[in-house]
């Protein structure tokens, strides 16, 4: 099966700044993919090139098999982009905005789908409001609706929840999950790593224009930092034999031990018993994507 997105050897520079350096990446159909990286890492540049808003200096990109340059019509028809900036046209109402956007994709009689999208994004009672009269959250919903008017198989969301309240964020994710469930490929950039961890099955990380990590969320979590055991002793000190497992210097009488696998819990408990030490508190800590992200970004 062809990938929904194929990126092959893409580089891009703005003057002397190298925004993207030889990026290659495939995203299979139906995947929920997270593109992560600090500000200025190149995420938005990569999305812009995919969407035809910018042009690569080298390399090729395809959306659903359509080259974004030579077959830009096919590529753009297959792609819905929710931009990072909260942009809107102040001349029009919500309904007009969606009707025009639909028409740009050649769909003139699309009112049923527009009504459906508005209903799902809770915009129906704002349909005749001018865009200027909407709150930031509502404008964000319209941007999502605009990206969906032509029912694209691939949807890219560039930091869609930046500055959005909790209620809308949850509603948005529920909706996007549903779209993914219906077979849409979703690419997400976000600074909320818990969001990416909960939603995305695979993660790519960009750092200074380079792809520094690309794996399933599960593997990244497993491989990078492992599981930790937080341990506070009622009396005594940590047995000498456990010292190599200490991940960070003890603080407030608490030790953080790095576990290679769960079987090591038993080793820890056995050592504690053998040395007549008593544990007052014990907690198993799973790694999260934020730790993985920080660790990868700190590497040279």
């Amino acid at each position: 099966m062809q990938p929904a997105i194929e990126i092959c050897g893409v580089s891009k520079a703005f003057g002397s700044v190298r925004a993207l350096i030889d990026i290659s990446l495939d995203i299979p159909e139906g995947e929920f993919f997270a593109l992560l990286g600090p500000n200025g890492a190149g995420k938005t540049t990569l999305i812009s090139i995919l969407a035809g808003l910018a042009r690569a200096d080298a390399g090729t990109l395809k959306v659903m098999g359509h080259d974004v340059v030579t077959d830009y019509r096919g590529a753009r028809r297959s792609l819905g982009v929710v931009p990072q900036e909260l942009v809107f046209d102040p001349f029009f109402t919500v309904r007009e905005t969606l009707q025009f956007q639909s028409g740009y994709f050649g769909l003139n009689r699309n009112d049923d789908w527009i009504d459906e999208v508005m209903a799902k994004l809770d915009l129906t009672n704002r349909a005749e409001f001018n865009m200027r009269a909407l709150s930031g959250g509502m404008k964000r919903r319209v941007l999502v609706a605009q990206a969906l008017v032509h029912k694209p198989p691939v949807i890219i969301l560039d930091e869609p929840t930046a500055g959005v309240d909790v209620e809308l964020r949850q509603a948005l994710w529920q909706f996007i999950r549903q779209l993914n469930g219906d077979g849409h490929t979703i690419v997400l950039t976000t600074h909320y790593l818990d969001e990416a961890e909960a939603l995305c099955s695979r993660v790519g990380m960009l750092k200074q224009g380079k792809l520094v990590a690309l794996d399933s969320t599960h593997n990244l979590l497993k491989a990078s930092t492992g599981t930790h055991l937080r341990l506070r002793l009622a009396q005594g000190t940590l047995p000498e034999s456990l010292a190599p497992m200490v991940a960070v210097a003890p603080a407030n009488g608490e030790y953080l031990l790095a576990l290679q696998d769960y079987a090591q819990i038993e080793t820890v408990l056995a050592e504690i018993r053998r040395c007549n030490v008593t544990a007052a508190f014990m907690e198993l800590e799973q790694p999260d994507l934020e730790e993985v992200f920080v660790a990868i970004m700190r590497k040279d």
Binding site: A54, Y104, H150
Partner: protein
């Protein structure tokens, strides 16, 4: 085709929603010009034999308003979209550069012709002007508004801020229109300035347009037509090339 039609409709809707500013205000301004100039100069100037100065002025004012508003339509729409960022709404869909050009320029033609006709209609109440050759009138109206709509696209794409667009408008478009023979015949100028006027394409638009009304002009309407059409074609290809390259639109 549907994509072009939508962008065209959107551009028309955009200016029509603010029609006080985009249509009625320029018509009123032209009427004020007519009232003041005719009051001051009517008794002193006769440009063509048998044609009153006020009547001479009407086609010039109509054409000047048409040209300025055609330019304003495409240029202001593009710069506003660029500065507010909503230009991406037309860059993300599969619109070709030709559809993009055609939609913006035709919307400019519609607004320009609407304003030009408005000026002609409102001044008719005060100065009924004959129309000897409607075909020439229409030809020059369409060519002129198309040319200025195209220049508006170039300026709108080139300018990064409103100040640059204002410079384009105030230092290029307005001097070229004012010095093109709106208020006078170039035959009334000293020989040197007559020669200079021949290098101003706006002169041919107004001269040819005026020929359609009075059957009298400074140069042959066929020559004017050829020059204006040539300029339009050159600018059209230049603009299509800019759009195809994504100049200042796709980075």
């Amino acid at each position: 085709m549907a994509a072009f039609a939508t962008l065209f409709r959107k551009e028309i809707t955009r200016f029509w929603k603010v029609s006080f500013q985009t249509v009625l205000a320029p018509v009123l301004t032209a009427l004020l010009y007519l009232l003041i100039f005719s009051h001051v100069l009517e008794e002193h100037v006769q440009v063509y034999p048998g044609v009153r100065y006020t009547a001479f002025l009407v086609p010039g004012l109509a054409m000047m308003s048409l040209l300025q508003n055609s330019f304003a339509n495409s240029s202001s729409s593009l710069i506003q979209s660029k500065i507010t960022g909503n230009i991406i709404f037309v860059l993300l869909p599969p619109l070709s550069h030709f559809e993009f050009y055609a939609a913006y320029v035709l919307a400019s033609v519609v607004r320009g012709v609407m304003v030009g006709f408005g000026v002609f209609a409102i001044t008719w109440i005060f100065v009924p002007v004959p129309v000897q050759s409607p075909l020439w009138v229409l030809s020059f109206a369409l060519l002129g508004s198309g040319l200025l709509g195209t220049l508006g696209i170039i300026a709108g794409i080139w300018a990064d801020k409103f100040d640059q667009l204002a410079a384009f408008q105030n230092f290029i478009i307005i001097p070229l229109t004012f010095l093109s023979g709106v208020f006078y015949s170039i035959h009334s100028l000293p020989p040197f300035w007559q020669e200079v006027s021949h290098f101003n394409p706006f002169f041919y638009m107004i001269d040819g347009f005026r020929y359609g009304f009075f059957g009298v002009s400074d140069v042959s309407p066929r020559l004017s037509f050829a020059i204006v059409a040539g300029c339009l074609l050159a600018l059209l290809f230049a603009t299509l090339s800019l759009l195809k390259r994504g100049y200042k639109l796709r980075h």
